[in-house]
């Protein structure tokens, strides 16, 4: 009797041991799979960096540092310089940010302080839906609707308005093409607006109610509370949102490709066609013949990658700082 039950227990023990071992093995496999996937994310970014460096080697070793400072871009003589696209990228993104930041903060203030509660969510969603619209839609809209509008109404007006004023007259010199640096900047501003708005709104929500209430309690107006309490408290977070928007604007491709005009030159006028790094790659890559041409385009990609990496890393760092403060 006892022998039988002992045998039964020991066999039960054995199966239990086997089960536990099986569990341990599957758990190890699953853990390894998840870990490998996490590491793959790192490998992807590393792979992007390595492949871009490898692809741009030929051009960079031939042109060296002067690649960054040369304006000419001539596929026929195979002489390439990145200055015009870099200039276009930075100018369009900077103007876009200058336009989008005040509007974005304004919308965030509206949503957190002024908007009637039932409207808050629908309006917030509507603004965020702007972020979901693919960039090619902005491009086609910009080319067929927005650019003709600027060309026939806004640009002639501005040109005649600033005519003869030194500085401004060359900044807004025409002919009004419709497409060009300013049009691209405006489209980019519309595109980054939802990013800046939603992050600003999120960080505004992290301001402790008691801070705002004490300011209201001593008789501050809504604007004073925003200006003296909310914005100083969330400054780092807003900067993070702005950087994130800037990262978007710098790398934005399709919308800009439609309306920038793709001209490799640097002009003083914002109405003149220009080009950006991403627009140059999108327009010319499949037509590039010759290794040096392709390699020069990849070098442009590498430059864009480095610029956006730095900007986005800064943005994340700033947003992390806001996160850790609210977590504490």
């Amino acid at each position: 009797m006892t022998a039988v039950s002992e045998a039964a227990t020991s066999s039960a023990m054995r199966t239990r041991e086997a089960t536990v071992r099986r569990f341990a093995v599957t758990d190890m496999v699953f853990r390894a799979a998840t870990r490998a996937s996490a590491i793959l994310v790192l490998v992807l970014l590393g792979g992007v960096a390595i492949s871009l460096i490898a692809g741009s080697w030929e051009a960079l070793s031939k042109f060296g540092f002067s690649f960054l400072t040369t304006e000419s871009w001539n596929p026929v003589t195979e002489n390439f310089g990145a200055l015009a696209p870099i200039y276009g990228t930075i100018v369009t993104s900077a103007i876009a940010i200058l336009i989008a930041v005040p509007i974005g903060i304004g919308i965030a203030v509206f949503l957190t302080e002024l908007c009637p509660r039932p409207l808050r969510r629908p309006i917030g969603i509507a603004v965020e839906l702007l972020a979901g619209i693919p960039s090619i839609i902005y491009g086609i809209w910009g080319l067929f609707v927005f650019a003709p509008f600027l060309q026939t109404t806004v640009q002639p007006f501005i040109i005649s308005l600033f005519h003869g004023i030194p500085g401004l007259s060359s900044l807004f010199a025409g002919p009004p093409y419709g497409i060009g640096l300013l049009t691209s900047s405006l489209i980019l501003a519309i595109m980054v607006l939802p990013f800046i708005t939603s992050i600003t709104k999120d960080v505004f929500d992290t301001v402790p109610a008691v801070l705002k209430e004490s300011a209201y309690g001593i008789g501050c107006t809504t604007w004073e509370v925003t200006r003296r309490v909310t914005i100083p408290y969330t400054r780092v977070g807003i900067m993070g949102g702005v950087m994130l928007g800037l990262g978007r604007a710098l790398g934005e491709t399709m919308a800009v490709t439609f309306v920038i005009g793709n001209a490799h030159r640097i002009s003083a006028s914002l109405f003149a066609p220009g080009t950006t790094i991403s627009a140059t790659i999108a327009n010319e890559f499949t037509e590039a013949d010759g290794n040096l041409y392709t390699s020069s385009l990849v070098s442009l990609g590498l430059i864009l990658f480095i610029i956006t990496f730095i900007i986005l890393a800064l943005a994340r760092y700033m947003l992390l700082r806001i996160d850790s403060r609210t977590g504490a």
Partner: protein, 283 residues
């Protein structure tokens, strides 16, 4: 007294002006959305007919449809999602479950956030160097791989966030009845976070179905019907790009119609995704 009053008045006036500006800013934001959607509907709807969904992209100056482009978009999006989602979910699982406090997680989170907003044209260049150049030709596979690389960061981010929201008591209850870790993750954590993870996948679909830049020099384009994954394949965004910049009126009309199709798809997906998480928050 009168200075105090005028100070009060000027503060009130300043407040009114600034608040009015904020309302105007919100108005501008909404007006843009209305303007873009209005133009899309106006220009796109007039070209919607059965031929759009049943005929191939036409040669210049001819009538036709977008069937091969729609097919190509669906094929590459599906492959991109099928490849990218498991990797993204597993990576997110590691970050929220096994390695929640590990150094690796912090680094991956940082890098993933950068990948999330990295310019998509850079991903296109990467896949060109990785696949197109060694293979010697453009292919739908390369396009799908480029899209899957865009899917991964979106899914990683939402999976991690959603798993982090699962209460630890649930996991502990699972462990207490003797379930190993992976069973707890599979049958408790995944189930609790399911709607959030699905939201992430929907957002990823919404993102890649409108992406043009990474397809330009990976999948290229194809004017004809092609189901060969090893050959260039048409896609809706690239076709729109090509047709919109052409001088032919029929092509431009098709571009608008395609743009309308993409926008409605993307907006529909985002609204469904939002309503999934919205219901979660209410509970």
């Amino acid at each position: 007294m009168s200075t105090a009053q005028s100070l009060h008045q000027s503060r009130k006036r300043k407040n009114a002006v600034m608040m009015a500006l904020c309302v105007i800013a919100a108005g501008i934001g909404l007006a843009w959305l209305a303007l873009i959607l209005g133009a899309l509907l106006y220009k796109g709807l007039s070209g919607v007919n059965l031929a759009v969904f049943t005929e191939m992209t036409p040669p210049p100056g001819d009538a036709g449809g977008l069937l091969n482009a729609i097919y190509g978009s669906i094929v590459m999006t599906v492959i991109g999602i099928v490849v990218g989602t498991p990797i993204g979910v597993l990576a997110g699982t590691y970050m929220a479950e096994y390695g929640r406090f590990s150094r690796l997680t912090t680094v991956v989170r940082f890098i993933n956030d950068i990948l999330l907003s990295a310019p998509s044209i850079i991903i296109g260049l990467f896949v060109y160097e990785l696949l197109v150049r060694p293979m010697g030709h453009f292919s739908a596979i390369a396009g799908a791989v480029a899209l899957s690389i865009l899917v991964i960061p979106v899914v990683v981010r939402t999976t991690e966030d959603m798993l982090n929201l699962v209460p630890n008591a649930l996991r502990e209850a699972g462990t207490a009845i003797g379930a190993p870790r992976w069973v707890v993750i599979r049958s408790v954590a995944y189930r609790a976070a399911l709607s959030g993870i699905v939201t992430g996948i929907l957002l990823a679909i919404a993102r890649i179905s409108g992406e043009t830049a990474p397809l330009l020099f990976t999948a290229l384009n194809n004017q004809f019907w092609s189901s060969n994954l090893n050959a260039p394949m048409a896609s809706l965004p690239v076709t729109i790009f090509q047709f919109a910049l052409s001088p032919y009126e029929e092509w431009q009309q098709l571009a608008w119609t395609g743009a309308l199709i993409i926008t409605l798809t993307v907006l529909g997906l985002s609204i469904i995704a939002r309503s999934l998480t919205g219901r979660r928050e209410d509970r």
